[in-house]
Amino acid sequence: MQLELSEQDAAFRAEMRDFFTTKVPQEIRDVVASRGELSKDDIVTSQRILNAEGLAVPHWPAEWGGRDWTPLRRHIWHEEMQRACVPLPLAFNASMVGPVIAAFGTQEQKERFLPATANLDIWWSQGFSEPDAGSDLASLRTTAVRDGDDWIVNGQKTWTTLGQHGDWIFTLVRTDPEAKKQRGISFLLIDMTSPGVEVRPIELIDGGHEVNEVWFSDVRVPAENLVGEENHGWDYAKFLLGNERVGVAPVGATKRVLAQAKEWAGDALADDPLLAARVAELENELLALELTALRVVAHSTDGKPHPASSVLKLKGTELQQAVSELVVDLAGPASLASGAGDDSTVPQWARRATPAYLNLRKASIYGGSNEIQRQIIARTILGL
């Protein structure tokens, strides 16, 4: 057992810290620091800076831009980005479709998509959830029917995050209506400029436009855009979701917001013992979470994930939400001024507090709701 990072890992951390705080534009990092909304340009600019340095997709296979880092180094990379308020590489590209294409795509698909995906020349959207297929994703109904060299896609996807920016969408579609549930699903890449694709915004409770419905009406998709084997899409989707080991819990970002909250609290932190206790308790829970994430990454070198990794998403989202709730309480009545402009007497953090709090209610729902996480723990770890 040893507490300190090895000399090499400590140097790596310093290198990451230096790069993120000096090479990614301050204006972009300021938006993240103020919990504001990043523009498409901000996200693209930032990812291209990372990609030019080989820091956008380090977890991919080396021939496609990966770095063969240990899980610990990936963890450090991920934490330091959050700490420096650098926008994370677009998850749909870097964590989702990229690894799937790299693992299961044809050589042509890899050459066509992977460099552009890493560099965010293609903005990917995710087409998994449907109105009647949420946590029970395998009950999805969007169909793809073979017609010559094409698939004809019909159906509706929903909760497509930032789909308004999407160039391409990776989808799960039913290619064998006779097969039961998980069997009969394929993984299909669809150009969002294809005729018959329509993106409709969904307004959320925070007032923002973050997610969309995506409708497919007789959309013609070349057969070459199917990834892997027909009717094996479920396996690839499981691979994609199981890929999220490092960075499952947003530790660094939550720590940063909590540290900011202490500044925003001002004198109240010293004067109000209840507030001080609440912050101290949150800090301790975050510390426990961060240490658990470290245990998991330090362990997973043998390829098998540490059982405690299932704790990360569950507790990580709970704490992310709890800190956002704290910030609303710090703002108090001023938190109602969410619609006020920069000329308001209410500071920006207080104006952003409630939209951020409302927005983050999503965190315990997406990516396998926390109820699904509890089910995973109960079944696979406790054997219940």
């Binding site: 610990l72 800090e283 301790n284 829970e285 330090a298």
Partner: protein
């Protein structure tokens, strides 16, 4: 950074597990042992001495094994798994630790050699009636008497205070500050009233009326030294609690699988399995904190970055306190009536967890200390 135990440490844990399981293979064995005096199994105590466990934390020149906090933690976790009533934590780690931290060369060699050999049980007389756990003594006052000292006052509860060969007493020095003293258990002026604690342990009221005492060390204020030893013991106590929590959870999941109601196993009911999943989350988060705290204790002074050993101990103890209550209370509830009986082990595990929680200061005390310092740092970073 490495959270894994080396082969020697694993072998130690296995050896201790083997030994304690021979004595407490079934819960009934433990129940029988704590019914009679001295409240623990003297054969097992001798066995632990022969294995080197009782001298584990002491320097080799003092008759010990020269191991560290990680090894003590491993032993405590194994003892916790069977809630062994043997006073490793109180006699070896706490009382022995006080002697190791404050005694002169000859005092250490004399006392710790006997402790390591299993010939002498020490009782830590630190807790004071009506006060939270503190390193600064006030309920017992020391007076210089010729070459030696006499003590006046009351200590309670003193673990194994009625039967221990020697008492290690913290007392207020005439010119301020705290001294640590050795008192023979059967010396004149020592009145010991022993009793059982709710978890089957032993404690006593110790009344000192001019009892002759030997000052450990040179007579300077030992408050800081006492404080550091109490912190070390806190971390070891956390590990003892981890062992007990792990078994409480294992027993609960076994019970959910085997117990039938309404014609089906209890594990059929998601209302119950989700609660077991939450117990696992609490346990793993506490394990992360306790493991980290033992690594901080084991690290070279000054090599732990922003983290002071005392701070790490508090953080681990707070997290463990929260987890122990959650896991313990749910273990009883998910079992139902059977866990209320003295005959079944789980309720007794909860009783022991409750004792451990309060022995050296509880979550409330730790949170208060952390809250007082919450403005001193921006973030809590676990790695140096």
């Amino acid at each position: 950074m490495d959270f894994t135990h080396d082969d020697e440490q694993k072998a130690l844990a296995e050896a201790v597990r083997g030994l304690v399981t021979r004595t407490y293979g079934s819960y009934e064995d433990r129940r029988r042992t704590v019914r009679d005096e001295p409240g623990y199994d003297e054969k097992l105590w001798t066995g632990l001495a022969e294995m080197g466990v009782l001298g584990l934390p002491f320097a080799e020149e003092d008759g010990g094994m020269g191991a560290g906090p990680i090894e003590s933690a491993l032993v405590a976790e194994e003892l916790g798994r069977v809630i062994a009533p043997e006073p490793f934590l109180t006699s070896v780690v706490l009382a022995g630790g006080l002697v190791a931290a404050t005694g002169t060369d000859s005092q250490r060699a004399e006392v710790l050699g006997a402790v390591s050999a299993g010939e002498l049980v020490l009782a830590p007389a630190v807790a004071e009636p009506g006060r939270p756990m503190t390193a600064a003594a006030s309920a017992v006052r020391a007076t210089a008497a010729g070459e030696g000292w006499t003590l006046e006052g009351v200590k309670e509860p003193v673990p194994h205070g009625a039967t221990a060969g020697r008492l290690v007493v913290t007392a207020a020095l005439p010119d301020g500050g705290t001294g640590v003293f050795l008192v023979d258990g059967d010396a004149d002026g020592v009145t010991r009233t022993g009793y059982s604690t709710h978890d089957g342990g032993r404690a006593a009221q110790v009344r000192l009326d001019g009892a002759a005492a030997t000052l450990l060390g040179d007579g300077g204020d030992a408050t800081e030294a006492v404080s550091a030893v109490v912190d070390q013991a806190r971390v070891v106590a956390c590990h003892q609690a981890l062992g007990a929590m792990a078994v409480a959870l294992e027993s609960t999941t076994d019970y959910l699988k085997s117990r039938k109601q309404f014609g089906v196993p209890l594990a059929t009911f998601q209302a119950l399995t989700f609660r077991a999943a939450d117990m696992y989350v609490s346990l793993e988060l506490a394990r992360s904190l306790a493991t980290w705290a033992s690594m901080v204790q084991a690290a070279e002074p000054g090599s732990t970055g922003d983290t002071e050993p005392a701070d790490a101990a508090r953080r681990a103890a707070l997290g463990t306190s929260r987890a122990a209550r959650h896991v313990g209370q749910e273990a009883i509830q998910l079992h139902g009536g059977i866990a209320m009986t003295a005959e079944y082990h789980v309720g007794n595990y909860v009783s022991h967890l409750t004792a451990l929680d309060h022995l050296l200061g509880d979550g409330h005390q730790h949170l208060r200390a952390l809250a007082a310092d919450v403005g001193d740092h921006a973030e809590v970073d676990p790695l140096p």
